[in-house]
């Protein structure tokens, strides 16, 4: 456990962070949203100028486990605060699920360097698998999660041959072509509900029907609380899994393949095997996230999984800092909440949103929280 001074610092920092997020999520009027965003940006710039930011990073790295517990506690507190507010809970759930999907892409691109422009297509495959199984068979909802992942991985393997043989822009094209092809395929195939898409019965999980509101500790909460719990559990699982992949010989092998294939081969690293492993593992994680998203949405159709959605996943990964897990979660929150808060500006949303991403890429290319050199020990003190 950290010493008392760090304990205080970390808790204060986490408290400030979550109050800010709480205010931002709760804000409705345009004026208050703009004020929050401006003061948030101002605070971050001030941090960087007074190099407090690097002090915070050292603090966080020093007591990593404690910081993770704080983050979990903060998120649960947020859900508790908004337990009545269906919409905000839906947003929080979306942040969790998108983070899991982008962590999947992170394994592919961040570690093994395999570019995947069809992230949203595998997300959709997971979703459609869950929909088809829930409609036609009576298997429990929770089982469709791994099934969604499995189907995404299996269909992903069709792309393995071209992806392995090509590199750089050429492999970018292969996955791009698959993304464009997949959307039209979903739209045209009748047995998948065609353009109407498919609706899903609510998730049944250990006897709890996820469609009715439930009472927790005497307070009547929105049914999205249950979904948020499952999404949070999936996120924690994915976080631990990806963190352990990174901090193991597998992660090291993937990094070697990403940075310099020839040199890695000369030291016994089987380049093809690691590209296949990373690509398939990534697709499995994305497929699982897709299945859960479909259940939460309870209705999916091809226009949810287009090429521009794949771009959204890649932009999130890039903004968070390729390879950095906390960066991915922070960037996901940023990229899901900000366009939602910009609803108030309506028609100009896409213009402002893409201009912001462009500016981010030009002026902060390493991302919000760039990846630190890996330290194998859990505590980070090795």
């Amino acid at each position: 456990m950290p010493n008392s001074r760090d304990f205080l610092r970390c808790s204060a920092l986490a408290a400030l962070l979550f109050t800010y997020i709480g205010f931002l999520l709760g804000a409705e009027e345009e004026l208050s949203i703009a004020a929050y965003l401006l003061c948030g940006a101002g605070v971050v710039i001030a941090l960087v100028l007074f190099d407090v930011f690097s002090a915070i990073e050292r603090l966080v790295q020093a007591n990593e486990t404690f910081w993770q517990v704080l983050m979990l506690a903060g998120t649960l507190a947020l859900i508790a605060v908004f337990h009545q507010d269906h919409y905000t809970l839906f947003l929080i759930g979306t942040i969790f699920i998108y983070s899991v999907a982008v962590l999947g892409i992170n394994v592919q691109l961040g570690y093994a360097g395999v570019i995947n422009f069809s992230g949203a297509s595998f997300f959709g495959i997971g979703g459609y698998t869950a929909a088809v199984f829930l409609q036609n068979t009576s298997i429990p909802g929770s089982l469709t999660l791994p099934l969604g992942g499995l189907f995404a991985a299996v269909i992903g393997s069709l792309l393995l041959l071209p992806v392995l043989r090509t590199s750089g822009h050429y492999s970018a094209l292969v996955t791009m072509a698959f993304a464009l092809l997949m959307k039209v395929f979903l739209e045209v195939s009748e047995w998948l509900g065609g353009p109407q898409g498919l609706s899903l019965p609510p998730l049944e999980f250990m006897g709890i029907n996820f469609a009715e509101d439930i009472v927790i500790m005497g307070k009547e909460c929105s049914f999205y609380v249950k979904y948020d719990m499952v999404c949070l559990a999936l996120l924690v699982l994915a976080f631990v899994f990806v963190r352990r992949v990174e901090r193991s010989w597998m992660g090291l092998a993937m990094d070697a393949v990403r940075i310099d294939e020839t040199a890695a081969a000369c030291f016994g690293v089987n380049v093809t095997r690691w590209k296949i492993t990373a690509f398939t593992m990534g697709n499995f994680v994305i497929g699982m996230a897709g299945a859960l998203y479909a259940m939460m949405l309870s209705y999916i159709n091809p226009s949810n999984f287009t090429f521009s959605d794949s771009l959204l996943f890649l932009s999130i990964l890039l903004l968070g800092g390729i390879g950095s897990i906390w960066g991915v979660i922070a960037a996901t929150a940023f990229m899901v909440v900000i366009p939602e808060k910009f609803q108030v500006v309506q028609e100009y949303r896409y213009l402002i949103y893409s201009a912001m991403v462009l500016a981010m890429i030009l002026f902060r290319p390493s991302g919000l929280l760039p990846r630190k050199p890996r330290s194998y020990a859990m505590g980070g003190r090795s």
Partner: protein, 307 residues
């Protein structure tokens, strides 16, 4: 499937192929010089079409005494000049600052730039979200051979497209500027040491590539008599696919790639039994298979990897 029908499909395929080739040439030029994929190139095509339309509406073309179709030349010139300027600005403020960044950053940055261009035209062009009619600048003659209809404006556009491509190829292969561009494409540092003004060459390449894209946009407008703010999105993806099929960095490869993709789509529509919406599924599916067979495109230059 009688012969006149086949001939008509062939003509359609050629027109489509020409448009894809013109867009693909831009992708290949930019990749050749800077090893970078400029994904806003598809939207430069759209901006070219809208620029041409604006100049037409402002009457910039109305040179007294000249017949309408002669003045079409000025609309094309104005549109291409505008987009060439825009291309130079893009290279100066988006591409060059990202030279040191990994390739993915530039790819995503240019994709976002494309979205900004699309939304800007949709919002700030008067009533931009609806399709806009494109004026018929070329005369309306057409010849009928049996059932096959050959229109003068299609023929004129196709010939103009060929001339432009041959012009670009000649410029790249037979002029001092072209030699400088190829030198930079091979090895930017070595070229600079030999006195090649690298930033100037990059600006020139972007000007040429963007002008060709503007021509494709204007050709799209004249051929379909309609332009909309969304035409750049799919055209960009197809242009990129064509450039890659042909082999990035190879101008002739881009032209071949463009026509291959066009005929894939035509075959996909004609030969496929089920609904023709599958033609994109078919076309992109073949692209994936082609990449598995030719990992660096069909006419790719053989670059041995220095170890």
């Amino acid at each position: 499937m009688d012969i006149s029908l086949l001939l008509q499909f062939f003509i359609n395929g050629c027109m489509l192929g020409m448009m894809y080739a013109l867009v693909a040439v831009g992708f290949t030029l930019f990749f050749g010089v800077l090893d970078v994929i400029v994904f806003s190139h598809g939207d430069s095509v759209m901006v070219g079409a809208f620029a041409g339309l604006t100049f037409y509406l402002l009457g910039v073309y109305a040179v007294p005494g000249l017949p309408v179709w002669a003045s079409a030349f000025f609309v094309f010139l104005a549109g291409m000049a505008f987009v060439a300027g825009a291309g130079m600005l893009i290279s100066r403020f988006v591409i060059m600052p990202l030279r040191a960044a990994p390739a993915l950053n530039t790819l995503l940055a240019t994709m976002m730039l494309g979205t900004v261009m699309r939304e800007a035209v949709r919002l700030f062009f008067p009533d931009g979200s609806n399709p806009k009619p494109f004026p018929r600048l070329l005369p309306d003659w057409s010849w009928k051979f049996g059932d096959v209809l050959l229109r003068f404006d299609n023929l004129a556009l196709f010939v103009a497209g060929c001339l432009l491509i041959v012009g670009v190829a000649m410029l790249i292969n037979h002029t001092r500027l072209g030699m400088a561009i190829r030198a930079v494409a091979q090895d930017a540092e070595a070229a600079q040491i030999m006195g090649v003004n690298f930033p100037l060459i990059v600006l020139a390449t972007f000007a040429i590539g963007s002008a060709v894209a503007a021509f494709a946009g204007l050709m799209n407008g004249l051929y379909y008599n309609e332009i909309n703010f969304n035409l750049g999105l799919l055209l960009g993806a197809i242009g990129f696919s064509s450039a890659v099929i042909g082999g990035l960095g190879n101008v002739y490869g881009a032209i071949l790639g463009g026509f291959v993709f066009a005929f894939l789509q035509v075959v996909g529509t004609v030969a496929m039994p089920f609904s023709s919406a599958y033609k994109d599924v078919f076309a992109f599916g073949v692209v994936i298979v082609l990449m598995a067979i030719f990992p660096t495109g069909i006419l790719s230059e053989r670059q041995s990897q220095r170890v």
